[in-house]
Amino acid sequence: MAILIDANTKVLCQGITGSFGAVHTKGCFLYGTKMAGGVTPGKGGTKDANGLPIFDTVAQAVRETGASATMIFVPPAFTADAILEAADAGIRVICAITEGVPVQDMIRVRSVLDELNGGAETSASKRKFVLVGPNCPGVITPGPRTNMNSTTGEPGAPFTNAGCKIGIMPGYINTHVSQSKRGKAIGIVSRSGTLTYEAVWQTSNLGFGQSTCVGIGGDPVRGLNHIDCLELFADDPETHGILMIGEIGGSDEIDAAKWIEANRKSGRLKKPVAGFIAGRTAPPGRRMGHAGAIIGGADDTADAKIAALKAAGVSVAMSPADMGSAMLSAMGGS
């Protein structure tokens, strides 16, 4: 079933009546995601432009729709509260798309979620609540394209009835493994939104499908990190190769390299892994757009991360134009 979400996942949107929330609810709805409704306090009982029900609270929305995932589009000041409300209502997959959430808010939220999950060390597959983001593009498990217009080749609505898109990623660049030339599916994990699209695009063009793509977000304190996704992809029978995209700042990619090395030895990780690290040309001490992308010490430079990944046997693309081909060569193809 790929990872985190599948065709049957029922999804809510917190902040559905905001401009961003509304646009992307529609985008997910048209992709074929089972959008169950949305939440905007004070607007309960009404419907959105797609005819989806709006609720006052997440708890009420879960009771009436059985939703198990949510995407959060509320402003940064209310994001911490929205995440905790989702968890309190029992939603497992919580994607915080919002950009600009204060770090101190995320420290508190992570600590509460870690507590609910039985500790920070609980592996992603065993967590009761899985937070993705904030400041992330979301998660997509593509389904096969359906309803294609026979003359233009463009997809109609719904785009697919077997996929699930949560967040802001463009759905049409993804390929389901059943419609891929090579019949292999790549799991993609990335700290950057548009770089994820680039990776999806390149792998699709080279004849791969994608099992699931997870945008973990560019903030320093967040939910899922690279290791969590590597673990989920390693154990997922529908993922045949893993492409991880990192950037400067923090030690996430170095930790991932250690994880890869250890789990190759133990036999848990049997799939090829390719990677790319953005920011080789970034000057130290400057924030490159993402709050998490600041080079502080020697270990969080692009070169240190690339060296660690290479040492762990990862096929690292030196150019962002070669992410797909690095994956291809790791898969033993040409």
Binding site: F20, H24, P76, A77, G100, V101, P102, V103, Q104, M106, I107, R108, R110, S111, A120, P137, I168, M169, P170, I173, S190, R191, S192, G193, T194, L195, T196, Y197, E198, W201, G218, P220, V221, I245, E247, I248, G250, S251, D255, F276, A278, G279, R280, T281, A282, P283, R286, R287, M288, G289, H290, A291, G292, A293, A302, M318, S319, P320, A321, D322
Partner: protein, 427 residues
Amino acid sequence: MKIHEHQARDLLHSYKIPVPPGRMIESVEHAADAFAQAVAGSPTGEVVIKAQVHAGGRGKAGFVKLVKTKEDAVTAAKFMLTNRMKSPQTPPEGLEVKKVLIAQAAEIAKRGASGHEEFYLAITTDRKSRRNILIASREGGVEIEQVAHDRPDAIIKVPLHPLLGLQGFQAREVAFKLGFKGKQINQAVAVMTALSKLFVEKDCTLAEINPLVLTPPTKDHPDGQVIAIDAKFSFDENGLFRHPEIASLADSAEENPAEIRAQKYGLSYVALDGQIGCLVNGAGLAMATMDIIKLEGQKLLDAKGIKDKTIEPANFLDVGGSATEEAVTEAFSIILSDDRVKGIMVNIFGGIMKCDVIAQGIINAARGFKNKDGSTGFKVPLVVRLEGTNVEAGRKLLQDAKGSLPTLQAATDLSDAAKKVVAAVAG
């Protein structure tokens, strides 16, 4: 966001962390008065004059002076307010100094034969453990990075509970390890507790006191006093919305004017030293675009056997996900305000961002752009790579406006775009 030392002192003072008396002046005519206030009650008769700039290296540049007389104070203040400060951390032309701090020089208790009781105290966020941590050392007043590198044992690190913050027992333990005794202990604990409270309440990313010192015993303070001499703060920009009083401390004179201009349009821009301007959507893709320019640039120079030249990105620019045509136009104007820019690469993978909006922004920017010789339109090579949402509409707009964009080259993919732009710039 960073603040000045005099602002940091005020912030410490508002949290009851003791600092030596002092005052910030903006004009040399107040120097004599400020000296008289600072020297009053001073055990040493010494006053320190410090230029208020964010860049380091002040001492070596002569912008921190210890004085004993009113005349020397005025001379030092006048020098700082009329000369540009140059240090390895400033731009080559130096920084204008608009504010000077005049403060009492604290007397520091002796440690052993030749040392002084100077300590380091800081709080920052540790990304890996997702906790705020307190960092302390007996070796204050020097570069803490050096201490951490040479003698990691000399650094004390204490994680703070995410919900409860620094606990009393943790602060006491640090105070003991730092060697405080008697009444000094409670003073040091109070400083640590206040600093950790300040850190969380004001959404800091760094709160650093260096040095924190112990003064020699006096009649009123038989165990001496624990006071903060210098402090550095930086704040989480994402948290500023709830601290207007902190946001108002930002000194625009300390920032690159182009970066401030970009902020107003929701653009994330960082000026760099190269010659190829970049306009990209998304921070990760923007960094990757910089990387591929340098990579392809180097390949081309190697192939041509050119050794004395480099081809590098001139900037980082993320237009974000919801940029308008106006923001795109502004982005071009910011990129081209840098005379070193000899070519531009636009790299858009439309998700939320629609390619037709970018295309229209490019066309408007070109039609409205005034060159120094009075002509309009872009003169530098422009390579555009569009992919994603509404890509066909975007490509058609550019094709139809070819007359307004004589230097435009369309690229088929990322690598094609980088190759074309470096080739155009290399000539």
